[in-house]
């Protein structure tokens, strides 16, 4: 029984005073007309007979009072707007919500929680509750919701589709699934941009409000949704699973070690869920060869970290918890160490000894391959094709700009990108850098304040640009994002056309550091490329420049052995269906371009504790609640009952049936 208060407090007080008033009125004696009779002997005996013979005499004597109090009570109850949850009549609509997130792979209910949920849904809703006229739809949800079956009364099809639900390794988010169910039950809440699509991409028509009952089969591994509105949707929660323990790798990362380019540090955070103490052997594999192991003991639920030093050599670094807990899929996490990748740099200059020297140091050659070109070469078709097809990571231009923007990041000294050539520039003599963004990675360890600059051409950067250093006259160094790429503009040249220095920056320590930062960031140069695991559902993205123009079809070899194509979206290749944990290998023909490890890395999913209830909107949804009911307001019934009581009271008063 649910109640909604319809009266203010003072109105309740007034209502409460009414029955008291009625009772007080009954204490007043009824004024009776005196009537002389010959004797009261027989009257007394008659009344005594009645008193003795009639059962419930008190009730009969006070039947009017009781009826009046009942009337007031019914009205007060009606003001409370009571409602009952009861089984709806006519065609009923059921929404079966099945959680197929990673935590549902837990084996505490053999073979898995998902299988148990599917069986329970078929048994309870399809076989149990549905009549021939009733309709049901099936929605699975992890962090995304998918309508597995639209409203249908075909039980056979529903059973088949429920059985076909597969396990995903994504995290849990009930919100979208709930929105679909609520939108079908309350179409007025559906916005036009909020249309729900079924599995084939067609919008699910929500033409009329269909009060529906949703049964949620989940282990409750999702946060409460206090701001959700259920409306006509009656939600019942069926927790799946038992309380069980689990240990998980919740973070895996690979870090370079400063000053030791030959070694990387594999760092992992382990989480334990469960009250019993447990010792977990942690093993580290490099290309399936165990290279390190540790024992980690958990005496209570919580997190511990573990770190290994590994030689920075290409291969698959895999961390494994050698434990047989209820959720195996979070016991593995891998990272891929690949060959150090050198940045492909094109230096376009008519001759600049400072730049050439700075780009030919040992440090730079270790991380970058620098090719030099004259400005005139930019006009040649060969170089233009290379620039247009993303052959370079970074193009450094000295006092010149390419005729069109290349498919690469650019660093321009004393020039502006070709699309900004028409922007008027302001010649400034001896500008002083008064502000610089030391937090930007390009200016890491770079101090620009003592620079002396003879002259600069200050151009107003376009909107969205990020100013790294500015003088009083305007920005001197700024970044301009351009799609997948970034243009970095330095407003002053290092040398003038006569070869004389314009600034003392090249002789300061900050200049090579700035160039190294630029090569690492804009040239994407890495000493050791460690691809850390991504979470299930995170798309794999590859810039088209990395793949090469010739490739027109890339395949992903997924952990379950199938090959699926990548989709080209503009300047990148994307694969979004990273549903399962494991290693995804991006193949161009027979050549492996990149291997991407996917690991669960989610504390909430690894926490396989089963929740007995959840809060959705204003309602506390308990596991024991009866499903398949709709809210039925009782106040019209109560008002009708009050009217009936009033009529009965009137009738009795007139008939004087009671003494």
């Amino acid at each position: 029984m649910q109640f909604l208060n319809a009266l203010a407090t003072w109105q309740w007080f007034v209502l409460a005073a009414v029955p008291i008033g009625i009772v007080l009125l009954y204490f007043l004696k009824l004024k009776r007309d005196p009537e002389i009779v010959s004797s009261t002997l027989l009257w007394r005996r008659t009344l005594e007979d009645l008193h003795v013979n009639r059962p419930f005499r008190w009730l009969r004597l006070n039947v009017l009072l009781i009826l009046q109090l009942l009337l007031i009570g019914l009205l007060a109850l009606a003001c409370l707007r009571p409602a009952i949850s009861r089984v709806a009549e006519g065609t009923r609509h059921f929404v079966i919500l099945i959680d197929n997130s990673a935590s549902m792979a837990a084996r505490d209910v053999p073979p898995s929680r998902l299988e148990a949920a599917k069986k329970a849904a078929i048994r309870e809703v399809i076989d149990g509750l549905m009549d021939a006229d009733d309709q049901a739809m099936v929605i699975t949800f992890n962090e995304r919701a998918q309508v597995v079956a639209s409203y249908t009364s075909d039980k056979k099809a529903l059973r088949r589709k429920i059985r076909a639900i597969t396990q995903s390794h994504r995290r849990t988010d009930l919100r979208e699934a709930l929105r679909i169910a609520v939108a079908l039950a309350n179409p007025e809440t559906v916005q036009t941009d909020d249309l729900v699509l079924d599995e084939s991409g067609r919008p699910i028509a929500a033409v009329k409000p269909v009060p529906a009952a949703a049964v949620l089969y989940s282990d409750g591994g999702f946060p409460d949704l206090p701001d959700a509105l259920l409306g006509n949707l009656e939600l019942a929660f069926r927790p799946i699973g038992t309380d069980t323990a689990n240990t998980a790798i919740t973070t895996l990362s690979v870090r370079e070690i400063e000053g030791d380019p030959e070694t990387v540090q594999v760092f992992a955070e382990l989480s334990h869920f469960g009250s019993a103490p447990v010792t977990v052997p942690v093993r580290l594999f490099w290309n399936n060869t165990m290279i390190a192991a540790q024992q980690i003991r958990f005496t209570e639920p919580g997190q511990q970290t573990v770190a290994f030093r590994v030689r920075a050599q290409p291969g698959l670094v895999r961390l494994e918890l050698a434990t047989n807990d209820s959720l195996p899929l979070d016991n593995h996490a891998a990272a891929v160490l690949s060959e150090p990748r050198k940045a492909q740099v094109l230096l376009v200059t008519a001759g600049n000894r400072w730049l050439e020297r700075a780009l030919s140091t040992e440090e730079v050659t270790r991380i970058a391959e620098v090719r030099k070109a004259e400005p005139a070469e930019l006009r040649t078709s060969a170089l233009r094709t290379q620039l247009a097809t993303g052959q370079f990571d970074l193009v450094i231009c000295d006092r010149t700009a390419p005729p069109e923007l290349p498919e690469a990041n650019t660093l321009l000294f004393g020039a502006v990108p070709p699309d900004l050539q028409d922007t008027p520039g302001q010649e400034v003599a001896w500008p002083r850098i008064i502000d610089s963004d030391a937090t930007h990675p390009l200016l890491r360890y770079v101090n620009l304040t003592p620079l002396r600059i003879a002259h600069a051409t200050v151009v107003k950067p376009p909107p969205g640009a990020n100013v790294l250093a500015s003088a009083a006259a305007g920005p001197l160094i700024w970044l301009r994002p351009r799609g997948f790429y970034v243009d970095c503009v330095v407003s002053f040249p290092l040398l003038d056309d006569n070869g004389r220095p314009v600034t003392d920056w090249p002789i300061r320590i900050s200049f090579p550091i700035f160039l190294m930062n630029t090569l690492r960031l804009l040239g994407r140069a890495q000493i050791s490329v460690a691809r850390e695991p991504i979470r299930p559902g995170t798309p794999i993205e590859l810039p088209a420049s990395r793949v090469g123009a010739s490739a027109n079809r890339l395949l992903v070899r997924t952990p379950d052995g199938t090959s699926q194509p990548l989709t080209r979206l503009g300047d990148r290749w994307v694969f979004a269906r990273t549903d399962r944990v494991g290693l995804y290998r991006v193949m161009a023909g027979s050549e492996e371009l990149v291997a991407v490890p996917v690991a669960l890395q989610d504390r909430r999913e690894s926490d396989v504790t089963v929740r007995s209830g959840t809060r959705i909107g204003a309602r506390e949804i308990r596991a024991s609640e009866r499903p398949m009911t709709v809210r039925r307001d009782l106040w019209p019934l109560l008002a009708a009952a009050a009217l009936a009581v009033c009529l009965v009271e009137w009738y009795i008063y007139n008939r004087r049936i009671a003494l």
Binding site: P34, E35, V37, S38, S39, T40, L41, R45, R656
Partner: protein, 306 residues
């Protein structure tokens, strides 16, 4: 006797309207009969169970000293040489008492119950007077509050009627007490006619027992008003007892009235059964009934009138 009746025929009409002249003429042909032979004070027209001085021989008994020698049967003495006393059936007059309840409840009803009771009293007393019986009418409440004293003969009819007309319902009654007091004061057997409504919270049984104990031939007429049998009451009422002021609050409903009517019938039937079981004749008279018809039919049937 017949000549006296003829001469007084003109006098015996009821100027107060209690009895119609035709009824009086009918009554003149009747006489009171006791179911028992009763002892009266004077020698009257009745056979008495007391052996006494009359011409009708009844029995012999042994002589005991002190007996009147005039009644010795000398013939038997001559034959048997034993003294026997001759006993004769004594002819005596009949004592007829009318006990008329004049408690306040008898004033209830339209017409009042008291008037109906007076009609009965007048009719039967008239028969008694005509028959030369000794008639006494006593108005009782919780004792005898008024009485005619002993009346006899047609000449007393007017006095009787005047007395009856002068009666008014008065103080609260106590039938038991009144009958007991009457029984204590009147030890002579006779006929007693009790006219009451029996609506007395003290009951009636012990009083009637006292009367029976005197050996009297008891007749009872219960007089009820039609308003008591079928009360014309509606609504929420406070019923006030006319005698003791007792109040009863009722909300009159059809079921209540039905129950009351059943109660009244049961009450009357209980009195009747009690009386019949003890040889008392019982008559229920209501104010709507014709008293003349009742007198002629009922009292002839029970043998009081002949």
């Amino acid at each position: 006797m017949s000549s006296e009746a003829t001469t007084t025929r003109q006098e015996t009409h009821d100027p107060h309207g209690l009895l119609s002249p035709e009824f009086l003429r009918t009554l003149e042909r009747l006489e009171l009969v006791s179911r028992r032979i009763l002892i009266g004070r004077l020698k009257g027209e009745r056979r008495s169970r007391r052996k006494g001085q009359s011409v009708e021989f009844a029995d012999y008994r042994d002589y005991v000293p002190g007996d009147d020698l005039r009644f010795l049967d000398w013939n038997v003495y001559g034959r048997l040489d034993r003294l026997f006393l001759k006993l004769f059936v004594e002819e005596e007059d009949l004592h007829f008492h009318v006990l008329l309840d004049v408690s306040e409840s008898m004033g209830y009803g339209a017409p009042a119950k008291l008037r109906t009771a007076c009609q009965f009293a007048a009719a039967l007393a008239f028969v008694g007077l005509i028959g030369q019986d000794r008639v006494a009418v006593h108005a009782i409440t919780d004792g005898v509050v008024a009485g005619t004293g002993g009346l006899r003969g047609r000449r007393s009819v007017f006095r009787l009627l005047e007395f009856l007309q002068g009666l008014r319902a008065q103080a609260p009654g106590n039938l038991n007490l009144a009958l007991r007091r009457f029984a204590a004061a009147h030890r002579t057997p006779g006929i007693v006619l009790v006219l009451t409504d029996f609506l007395d919270k003290h009951g009636y049984e012990s009083g009637l027992r006292y009367l029976l104990a005197t050996g009297m031939d008891v007749h009872v007429v219960q007089v009820l008003a039609w308003e008591e049998l079928d009360p014309p009451l509606r609504g929420d009422l406070k019923l006030v007892d006319i005698e003791d002021g007792d109040e009863v609050e009722v909300s009159v409903s059809a079921p209540l009235l039905e129950h009351y009517r059943r109660r009244v019938r049961a009450f009357c039937r209980a009195i009747e059964q009690w009386c019949v079981a003890r040889g008392i004749s019982y008559l229920l008279a209501t104010t709507t009934m014709d008293p003349e018809k009742l007198v002629l039919e009922h009292f002839r049937k029970v043998g009081l009138l002949r």
